[in-house]
Amino acid sequence: MSSDNSASVVTLKSNTGKVSFNTIANRFGVFLMIAVLLVVGAFASPRFFSGANWLNILSAVSILGMVAVGVSFVIYCGKYGDMSVPMVMALSGVISVEFMRYGIVPSFLGAVAVGAVIGLINGIVIGKLKVNAIIWTLAMNFILEGLIRWSYHGTQIYPDMATAVTYKTGFLLPLMAKLDPNIMNIDLTMRAENFNALAQTYFAGGIPLMLVVMVIIMIIGYFIQSKSSYGNKLKVVGSNYDVGNMSGIRATTIVMLAFMISSICASFAGVFITSVNKVGAFYVGAGYDFQAVTAIILGGMSLSGGRGNIIGVAGGVIMLGLITNILNLFGVGTFTQKMISGAIFIVVVAVNANSLRKLGKDDA
């Protein structure tokens, strides 16, 4: 009984304008945690506040940032997450290396087109048939893994060794070679260098291209999610699917577009991560699905949908980068870091769910 009482008191307080701890924790939690981490980082190493370290942190999370913006749309519409992100990244990377023969722009376009198609399939199945999003995207992830491995016979594709490719294995390469035999004669050395240079392009003061792209994607994402009519509809559908459907919103289309945005963002990330690793393979995106969800939840977006924004997501992404950086400065190993990040995720999700319940909002 006592817990019921306290819950109602907290609800009352937040209704009458007095700000409760839970509300603060929900809204600004990530930035408070970042502030704490900054203090910890200052003790970790004197190099922590150097410009080079900060560029290092930001460029390390820029790929995660691109993915997280996309996945945040899926979570915003109340669908828990997109587990097909790792293989969409891998497939886009592979496709971009294959399309590299025509130049950098077609390579991006090809990757994004593939991402859009996968997002469309996910969206149709999840939006129309109302399949459990996690289970379907997980199945999609396994199918795509099988497709990549099967078409490459389990090998990898290197942009700078692409001249050695026989055009007999590959995802679309055999088809491309059949349609346009000329591509076999294209000299790839220059193009491979251009492709690999994508991740090593720096602007004034050493700001990497990836970081710029991440910021642009975040700004566009912010405007779509919080300022556009699509974003409003997404919020309604995310808060309550049935209400959205009954108030004249095409909920199916809204959900479908959210999954397409997620896959397209993952495609961009996939091209960049392939360029960073200089290899296209089925495993390049492993772990990004989970990290993206962690960043989004850290950023105050609710798993039940319709709450939070991209600014918080950006905070969550930066916080993950800070944690990794500080643990590195303390000399903690990669495996232990994995364990710690998983534990942080569980604790944050539990606290988030608990505080939402205390606020009387839902059981997330």
């Binding site: 199945a139 199918i143 099967w150 772990g287 989970f290 998983g342």
Partner: protein
Amino acid sequence: MRDKNLNSKLKNNFGAKANDSRIYIFLVIVFVIIAAIYPAFFTSGSIKALVSTSLIYIIVGVGFTYVMIGGNFDLSIGSIINAGAVVTMGEFNRFYKIFGGVEGGDSALIKAWILAFACAIGVGLLIGFVNGFLVAKVKVHSFIVTIGMLTTVAGFVYTYSHGNSISANTYSLVDVIDKSFVKIPYLEVFTPRFVIAIILVVVFEFILLKTKWGYDLFMVGSNKESSFFAGINTVKKVWITFIISGFTAALGGSLFAVSMNAAVPNFGERGIAPLMFVLAATIIGGTAMLGGSGSVVKTAVATIVIQSIFSFLISMGMGFDAQVLAAGVVLGAVVFFESFSVYRQGLKEGERPALVLEAEQLRLKK
């Protein structure tokens, strides 16, 4: 004419019954097709190989089915399997050394194995306990909890094993665990590991079908609110399903490691993930994705069916990567088909066949 039509439509339960026992029909069809194309598949040796490959999935599937009947998913089984495997091997080596190694004789061996199994199962129970706590008590969504647990436990496994594979220092148990009791063809499948799996399946199926606890679990899975109002402790039920899942996953992993005499920290990460296999088997076996119905035995039969399809593909000369693709497609098709049938059912909700028929006939008269 009208009455006949109506009766046949109203009493047409055959479809529902066939769907209930579809896995047995599926089993027969698959075996008939394989027998027609590749009769050598049914030799005693290949049946034994088929069964011993499926055992890990059968054992893990028991707990997974329980969790799914309760209306949740346990995506962390892949990591728990690895945790069970590496802990068994690592702790055995440690205890064997403590008890004196080779000089300790048989008693040292037995004590070390028992303690190692206890540690592995303890780890599984602990993980299941935490999963269950977060899902049932804190009421976080089960996907999210178990995805987090998957990463945490994977980190633990890598930290524990330093990223290497661990082998036991003796071959004492590996000879016993997969040794047939009798040397008669087709009865060779009865190895200790197989018997353990059978006992697990039978016991848990019995609990599910014949006890009040199992009956209540079905109710919790199909409707949480009404079972709460009926006086069932839903929190405890869901919690226990996760503990069972942790137990079976750790046991499956440790028995698998013993049969290989080695444990790797990344079993299934670069191949056919156990999660993918067990998920597909559980859904084909007729467990509802939303909870409330299902059967441990049917999951086990589905495991055998899927594994025999894979073995068949291997014997037809299919590569490993093609197998991974086939596994993914099987899972995708199963999820799609299941959801599509639920979707069709949803469209029919509130429909009355008798009225529809009457309306049709009125329309025809006009």
